[in-house]
């Protein structure tokens, strides 16, 4: 274990408009001890408010990781990504695109806007558990994250 970065517990922001998908993602992550809190917001505007600590989110922590759906009502996932990566303070937060789409255009578009990784949601729950588990394991155990608290 000593070659692997020391695990830390993650504050995760989940941006997902479908309540079912959000619940499933939370369930898939649920049992993991590496997750401190999953904060769920349902659209892009809320996501930006959360990240800026505005409105209802004055006390929101700075997330260690953002799981971002692309198909969101009003402000799209790509726009959220663009705003995060254009913001000096926010751009160091890793953003994982977690979406149903497997379209090449979406993949290219996301990396073009500096997404940290692109993952398509599998249909089968077991696979979803694996995929989400891998994301969490990688970002909490393998990757070294930028120091938090620079809000």
């Amino acid at each position: 274990m000593n070659e692997i970065a020391e695990s830390k517990t993650l504050e995760i922001l989940l941006v997902e408009d479908s309540p079912s998908d959000a619940l499933l993602t939370k369930e898939a992550l649920g049992s993991s001890s590496a997750v401190k809190t999953i904060h769920h917001v349902e659209n892009g505007d809320e996501a930006m408010e959360f990240l800026h600590g505005q409105g209802a989110y004055v006390d929101a922590p700075r997330p260690d990781l953002v799981l971002l759906d692309l198909n969101l009502p009003r402000k799209s996932g790509l726009e959220v990504l663009q705003e995060i990566k254009a913001d000096k303070r926010l751009k160091t937060i890793p953003v994982v695109i977690l979406t149903t789409s497997r379209d090449e255009a979406d993949v290219l578009g996301s990396y073009g806007q500096h997404a940290n990784c692109y993952v398509s949601k599998p249909v089968a729950f077991e696979s979803l558990v694996q995929v989400v588990g891998n994301i969490q394991k990688f970002w909490s155990g393998v990757a070294t994250l930028p120091p938090n608290g620079t809000k």
């Binding site: 499933l24 789409s101 249909v123």
Partner: protein, 371 residues
């Protein structure tokens, strides 16, 4: 046809005697006299058809600035919709016939043309050209409509499959959670029903994936390069062996099967064909799969993927290539029935052909041509 209105005819003819004869022929014609413009050189002719409207042209092929078939080709290129009657001499009549294959409406042999026939030939030429143009327009329009309908169908297929995934994920996800966390609260029937639901979501997920792949191969742009089918087949078989290490299948792949095509799509062809062969030999002793080229015949090389597996009834050979058509029971050989439809779509997009032969219990042979 232009009815009673005066026809405008361009005559490109440098020989004054010939021009005079044509003039006389026109003068002798019954019915309203056409308006005829005479020019001596091809260059003049090209200029006139650019600036002016004509109903037809008489074109001598031997002109001071151009000769032979080239004269017609140049002229026709500039005004592809203008009916042209080529003027030839007795000794070069064959060139007139040649001009017709290149798009001329007719040829007239100089000095052999009774006045009464001249106008009739011209009118027929105009009529024919008009008719062809209309046909041509109609074909073009239909083709465009078809292409549009195909594109719409493909995007519809893509969108629907895509949108179906989200609710399916819910059904499967909550079903799995029910199974994992609450199974003991269900009685025997309840548990059995739940198993059925989960089984069905798995199958539907496969169907959606295959549909998406079918629509993708239809939409994706082709990128032609030299493709080594032998090497692709080798890679596909390796993957099959890795995924199914307990199967002992003898696979023989002929070396050096080269084609020009889209490597990504041709890989999908081999994945499907070899995947099928692999699947349908699963109940065969001494399973054997062969990839190769048919002994040299005339024309394009014919490739084959052969197996000695379950085979099929030749009566259904055409049906196999239709999406969702399956010739075997799901319990015997699982699958969605989209694989061969995908293969056919890819081969057709390459301008090629694919067909199947086989007998029940005697294996299947799939042939394809990639021109």
């Amino acid at each position: 046809m232009n009815g009673e209105s005066t026809l405008r005819i361009l005559v490109v003819e440098d020989n004054e005697t010939d021009a005079l004869l044509i003039r006389e022929a026109f003068a002798d014609c019954p019915g309203p006299a056409p308006e005829v413009v005479y020019v001596p050189r091809l260059g003049d002719g090209l200029e006139r058809i650019n600036d002016d409207h004509f109903d037809a042209a008489l074109l001598d092929l031997a002109l001071p600035d151009s000769s032979g078939l080239d004269t017609f080709v140049t002229f026709h290129q500039q005004a592809p919709r203008l009916p042209v009657l080529v003027l030839t001499g007795l000794e070069d009549e064959s060139i007139g016939a040649e001009a017709i294959t290149r798009g001329a409406q007719d040829y007239l042999v100089k000095g052999q043309l009774p006045a009464s026939l001249l106008m009739r030939s011209i009118r027929y030429a105009i009529e024919r050209q008009h008719f062809y143009r209309e046909l041509d327009d109609r074909v073009r329009e239909r083709t465009a409509q078809l292409a549009l309908a195909n594109r719409e169908l493909d995007s519809f297929c893509h969108a629907v499959s895509h949108d179906l995934r989200a609710p399916l994920r819910s059904i499967n996800g909550f079903g799995e959670l029910l199974d994992k966390n609450h199974r003991n609260t269900l009685d025997d029937d309840g548990q059995r029903f739940l198993d059925r639901i989960l089984e069905a979501t798995g199958r539907m997920s496969e169907l959606i994936d295959d549909l998406l792949s079918l629509s993708r191969v239809s939409r994706q742009e082709l990128n032609f390069t030299p493709v080594d089918l032998s090497r692709l087949a080798q890679q596909v078989v390796e993957t099959l062996r890795q995924n199914d290490p307990n199967r002992a299948v003898e696979v023989v792949i002929e070396e050096g099967l080269m084609v020009q095509g889209d490597g990504r799509l041709l890989r999908i062809v081999l994945e499907n064909l070899l995947g099928n062969a692999w699947k349908f030999t699963s109940k065969t002793e001494g399973a054997r799969i062969e990839v190769g080229r048919e002994p040299a015949e005339e024309g394009e090389p014919v490739f084959h993927v052969r197996d000695n597996g379950a085979g099929f009834d030749m009566r259904y050979a055409d049906k196999m290539f239709t999406a969702f058509q399956r010739l075997h029971h799901e319990e015997d050989f699982p699958g969605t029935g989209v694989g061969l439809a995908t293969v056919q779509r890819i081969i057709h997009r390459h301008g090629g052909k694919v067909w199947a032969e086989g007998e029940p219990g005697e294996g299947a042979r799939i042939y394809f041509i990639v021109p």
